[in-house]
């Protein structure tokens, strides 16, 4: 990520958060749909920033082949979509996808700016599902947005939203925090009955509804969280053997924790918009001493711990065997921050030490 100018940027900006309902495994269709959705959101609200969920290429699937196939090269169609949308609409476009970077796959969250700058970060805390598909990134990072007058932006994805470590890393260092979410409501392994599954799902949904506001209070800055949803959210909650549907929650929250705009699972696909003020952080809540900034059901936590461990092992075994579908692709990567410049001279993914060198 780029270095951050610590002289405080401040201002008011209009933000759109998109709640998106992708089809499992249908990456190209999903990107086409997203293209339309973002352009419509920009037409309707004329924002400065559009925030998309993580994993926009495909939600998690019980079919591992389908899930693995959703990865795209880091310089592939998802990144190109963000770049082109940002350039053509003149807004910052932030979103995440399952990315093939070098020898591994990551859940990479991208912030693309109209001047051509692109910031990328790999999600550092994987969920039980993610860990089958990707390797985790290293650290919580922030980016300096030229569009937002050099404001330091905290980029958060998935489980990072509820980690105290996230809050510790970003507190006092960012003027706004944004990112995506694609939480499936995991069925704890001790549960089997439909009613209890539904109960856990609802409790997780309740928890998630509070997360953007909790994080906003702890950081003292506005937060924007965009989530995946399902095309038919009511019908899919308890329908699959391994998970009970996506917990959709999309919110724009001000620095005091007041929800300015919200979409829930009942709203399906769409977008909301709000004006947010950003500037000097004014935290109104301490960073919790535990691992999470909110209460997490012990069974869910235990379940995810086990799933993460199993997923990481599975990922590693498949990687060694070379059976991840994305391993068929010749691999390349580039730096986590790409300089602006003429579109014809953008940096391309390569192999070798050069992609890890700092760029202007």
């Amino acid at each position: 990520m780029t270095g951050v100018d610590r002289s405080r940027a401040s201002g008011t900006t209009k933000v759109v958060a998109v709640q998106f309902a992708p089809r499992k495994g249908d990456v190209e269709r999903n990107l086409l749909r997203l293209d339309d959705l973002v352009r419509a959101a920009v037409r309707d609200h004329a924002p400065t920033v559009v925030v998309l969920p993580e994993m926009v290429t495909s939600p998690h699937s019980t079919n591992s082949r389908q899930s693995g196939s959703s990865a795209r090269p880091i310089d592939g169609s998802p990144l190109q979509l963000f770049r082109h949308l940002s350039r053509h609409t003149g807004v910052v476009v932030a979103g995440g996808f399952h990315a093939h970077r070098g020898r591994h796959a990551y859940i990479t969250y991208v912030v693309a700016e109209p001047d051509g700058r692109v910031h990328l970060r790999n999600k550092s805390v994987l969920g039980g599902w993610d860990s089958h598909l990707a390797k985790r990134g290293r650290v919580i990072e922030r980016v300096s947005s030229s569009t937002l007058s050099g404001a330091s932006v905290g980029v958060i994805a998935g489980w990072e939203w509820i980690r105290s470590d996230t809050a510790r890393a970003l507190r006092g260092n960012v003027e706004i925090a944004l990112g995506g979410m694609c939480w499936p409501a995991i069925r704890p392994i001790t549960l089997g009955r439909r009613a209890k599954q539904l109960d856990v799902h609802l409790r997780q949904a309740e928890l998630l509804r509070a997360v953007p506001a909790d994080m906003a209070r702890v950081l003292g800055v506005p937060t924007v969280m965009a989530s995946l949803t399902e095309a038919n959210p009511v019908g899919s909650i308890v329908s699959t053997p391994d998970y009970v549907g996506l917990i959709s929650e999309t919110q724009i929250v001000d620095a005091t924790g007041t929800v300015l705009a919200r979409m829930g699972p009942e709203d399906g696909e769409g977008y909301v918009s709000a004006e947010v003020k950003f500037g000097r952080p004014l935290p109104s809540a301490p960073v919790p001493s535990g691992s999470w900034i909110c209460y997490l059901d012990e069974r869910v936590e235990a379940s995810n711990l086990l799933r993460r461990a199993a997923g990481a092992l599975h990922y590693r075994a498949r990687h060694v065997a070379g059976t991840h579908p994305w391993q068929e692709w010749p691999s390349a990567d580039f730096a986590s921050s790409l300089a602006c410049g003429d579109p014809g001279e953008q940096q391309v993914a390569t192999t070798g030490p050069a992609f890890s060198r700092p760029t202007a």
């Binding site: 990107l31 190109q80 391309v348």
Partner: protein
């Protein structure tokens, strides 16, 4: 106007036509756009080794080209100084065992005709204004035709075959090479009538190495014409520009053996020259797009393999992705695999070109390797130049070691032994590096090979696509075309009117002035 097709190819010369033919044969609807009107010239020394002629045959353009009565050259002579001369017969590639050197006005016209015969819709005097995007993928182009009207062509795949200054490379964000190497040599040539046309010498490709200067002679077309080429230091181009006759005399004086061969040639054309030949690799595939030929990779022309590689890259691209064209994910995977394969195919010759473009006398080891093969007429070392085998396959480590031993023993360069050893081991290290790089299969490798790649490369300067308003269709001439047409008779075997037909009114005025 709005229309759609399977593949839109921008550029209809070597790479573009090769790809168009294969896509069309696979039953795909192909539209090929070219800003030129054919016949159209192109700055090129246009030598094709048997493997390149074989590509022409695969495309279906060879028959038409042979109808123009070119000289078929089945022999090669490589001479280093006074004592080393290798004479071999070229190794056959498929049914082809000869070289051709056919001016681009003839050759490219036949390529376009072959593409049309295969079913491709080739449109001349069409210029691409921009690449269109949808869902993160290139999905077509906006183009302006000769009547000034703009239209949109949607396609599943957009292919840039539009040369070093590729508009498509610029549009897809891949114009800046990720790897490049500066040329040491410039390229200065002219045509003449060869009095030895019907002799064996009249059917031999010649290379002379005198000191640090390289000279070549290629029998050309129509029968009786030949191309005479010097590749000295790149700054010689300035000398050739300011004093063409003086330059030519000086070079022939420096190349006495070449002078003996070409001295009797008459009806000499003006000099044609360039020193803008830095080699490079661009990222050449992405979602819904690919760059073939010089648009994606350019190697130093000193080894004369650009034409063959351009056709190869177009043909192989089409062979790999014609089937999965309807599945975007499979298409993108195919495109990326094609790029990896192209790199693997071209890296050894890229490095070979980088070695040959050094303005130095022939490496003593190479001279000894050539000497060891003297008197054997069958194809072997000429495979290195004719691309029948790659550099590591021809210059094997035992062979290089033997060359090193004999170079040290004979020391004709009269360098101190330590200097000779240092120089030779440096080259040996490069040869080992090439093997290592090929074995590692690193995709778009940024890792430069020390000694092979020369700094301060000058790849084509980036020019943002001009969003020309509707009606303004006359393009600026490319520097290559301008250079080629700045002389009264760049390709003597083609009627002046044919060359002129491709020029704008302004250019015509300049040429006639």
């Amino acid at each position: 106007m709005h229309e759609s097709c399977d593949v839109v190819i921008v550029g209809s010369r070597l790479a573009g036509s090769a790809a168009a033919v294969q896509f069309a044969r696979a039953g795909r609807r192909v539209i090929v756009l070219d800003r030129s009107q054919f016949p159209s010239n192109q700055l090129s020394t246009h030598l094709l080794f048997p493997s390149g002629v074989h590509e022409l045959e695969r495309i279906g353009a060879l028959e038409g080209i042979l109808a123009n009565d070119p000289v078929k050259s089945p022999w090669v002579s490589i001479r280093v100084g006074e004592k080393v001369e290798l004479r071999e017969r070229w190794r056959a590639s498929g049914p082809i065992d000869y070289c051709l050197c056919v001016p681009r006005t003839i050759q490219d016209l036949e390529l376009v005709r072959a593409a049309r015969r295969a079913g491709a819709d080739v449109r001349e005097k069409h210029r691409v204004l921009e690449v269109l995007w949808r869902g993160g993928r290139a999905n077509g182009v906006r183009v302006v035709g000769p009547d000034g009207n703009e239209s949109v062509i949607e396609a599943k795949l957009v292919v840039g075959a539009d040369g070093r200054r590729s508009t498509i490379a610029s549009e897809v964000g891949s114009f800046r090479p990720y790897r490049s190497s500066r040329n040491g040599r410039g390229l200065i040539f002219r045509y003449g009538d060869d009095p030895m046309v019907d002799t064996r010498a009249g059917r031999t490709i010649f290379q002379w190495w005198e000191g640090d200067s390289l000279g070549f002679m290629f029998p050309s077309a129509p029968r009786g014409r030949a191309l005479i080429l010097f590749m000295g230091a790149s700054d010689e181009v300035e000398h050739a520009k300011s004093d063409p006759d003086g330059y030519w005399s000086d070079k022939l004086a420096k190349h006495p053996r070449m002078a003996a061969r070409v001295g009797g040639m008459s009806n000499l054309s003006p000099l044609i020259h360039t020193n803008q030949t830095s080699a490079f690799f661009r990222a050449s595939s992405g979602p819904g797009w690919a760059l073939i030929g010089d648009a994606g990779h350019f190697k130093d022309p000193v080894i004369g393999q650009g034409q063959r590689d351009a056709m190869w890259s177009g043909r192989v691209l089409a062979e790999l992705v014609a089937d999965p064209l309807d599945d975007p994910a499979e298409l993108d995977l195919g495109l990326r695999r094609w790029e990896a394969r192209r790199d693997s195919e071209c890296l050894p010759s890229y490095h070979f070109g980088n070695l040959e473009t050094r303005v130095e006398a022939a490496p003593p080891v190479l001279a000894e390797v050539l000497r060891l093969r003297m008197g054997h007429p069958n194809a072997d070392l000429s495979d290195l130049y004719g691309r029948a085998r790659s550099m590591p396959q021809v210059l094997t480590l035992p062979r290089l070691t033997a060359g090193l031993v004999f170079a040290m023993k004979r020391n004709e360069s009269q360098l101190p032994a330590s200097e000779l050893a240092r120089h030779s081991l440096h080259d040996l290290k490069i040869h080992i590096g090439v093997r290592l790089e090929k074995r590692l299969h690193r995709f778009r490798s940024h890792v430069l090979l020390a000694g092979s790649e020369h700094g301060n490369a000058e790849p084509p300067a980036y020019r943002p696509t001009r969003r020309t308003p509707q009606g303004q269709v006359a393009p600026e001439p490319s520097p290559a075309l301008a250079a080629a047409t700045s002389q009264p008779v760049p390709a003597p075997q083609v009627k002046q009117a044919e060359v002129a037909s491709n020029l704008s009114a302004k250019q015509l005025k300049e040429v006639s002035a």
